[in-house]
Subunit: 150 residues, 2 copies
């Protein structure tokens, strides 16, 4: 007994699909062009830059960026090769690894941030009213909450 989508839902679902895909692709392309990295990597650098001493456990970084451990492992390997991130052994858990943002990584991030933020503003916020921004926040938080339930 499938609960099919009614026309309104169908339209909403397709609109959401098209919009989020187009937005992410646009920002990803801009970041790749201007900073030489995909958006997922940028996010990793951001989270590290906000952490105390600019370092985080791999697992915590994975949670913060909403990525799998495997994905993060591969990503940090690339970021390390680029000289933007370094690994260190965790002093309190010998299984653990810390990822830490290098000075070079911080400089790269600082150089990329204004352009990217401008992109987010132009492509996302400039299209919405302040009421819609508020709605989008509530919707997104409800969604995340719902998805992390069972």
């Amino acid at each position: 007994m499938t609960r099919w989508l009614n026309p309104d839902e169908q339209r909403t679902w397709r609109a959401f699909l098209a919009a989020s895909r187009a937005l992410m692709e646009t920002l990803d392309r801009e970041l790749q062009r201007d900073a030489g990295m995909p958006h997922a990597y940028y996010e990793i650098l951001v989270r590290l830059s906000e952490a105390p001493e600019r370092r985080l456990r791999m697992s915590e970084l994975a949670d913060l960026t909403g990525s799998s451990r495997s994905r993060l492992s591969h990503a940090v390997a690339r970021l390390e090769a680029a000289g933007w991130v370094r690994r260190e052994d965790c002093p309190t858990d010998r299984r653990g690894q810390l990822a830490l943002l290098t000075e070079e990584g911080f400089a790269t991030l600082a150089a990329a941030a204004p352009g990217h933020v401008e992109g987010v503003r132009r492509h996302l916020f400039d299209a919405l009213s302040t009421a819609q921004v508020d709605q989008l926040r509530r919707i997104s938080e409800a969604l995340t909450d719902h998805l992390s339930r069972p």
Copy 2:
């Protein structure tokens, strides 16, 4: 002169990022598990199934699915190898190709649809009020409209 994000915008942006990524990953994983194809391929089959005679020009199909021509070319190659899509020469334009859904492809889609729609309902619509669904539609349409401007 960077127009930075204020705390509300920051929160909205990160919430949207987390939610849309989590939603898409969940649906993609379910579809891969239950139907053996990624969501992008499912969408191709859906669009073909809705087209007159279940066939579309490659370029039109690319537009409808919001994908690049290259992406679609690779994707259709895979779908063709799976026996779900066939290519035909376009009678009116010798550069053109038509992609058409095979009987087998249609059957696969018909088998996959109920599960996927149920997933969309559970993970998206069940989390939102009817007012929020309406808001999300308006926001998404505004976004798509804005992104396809210049």
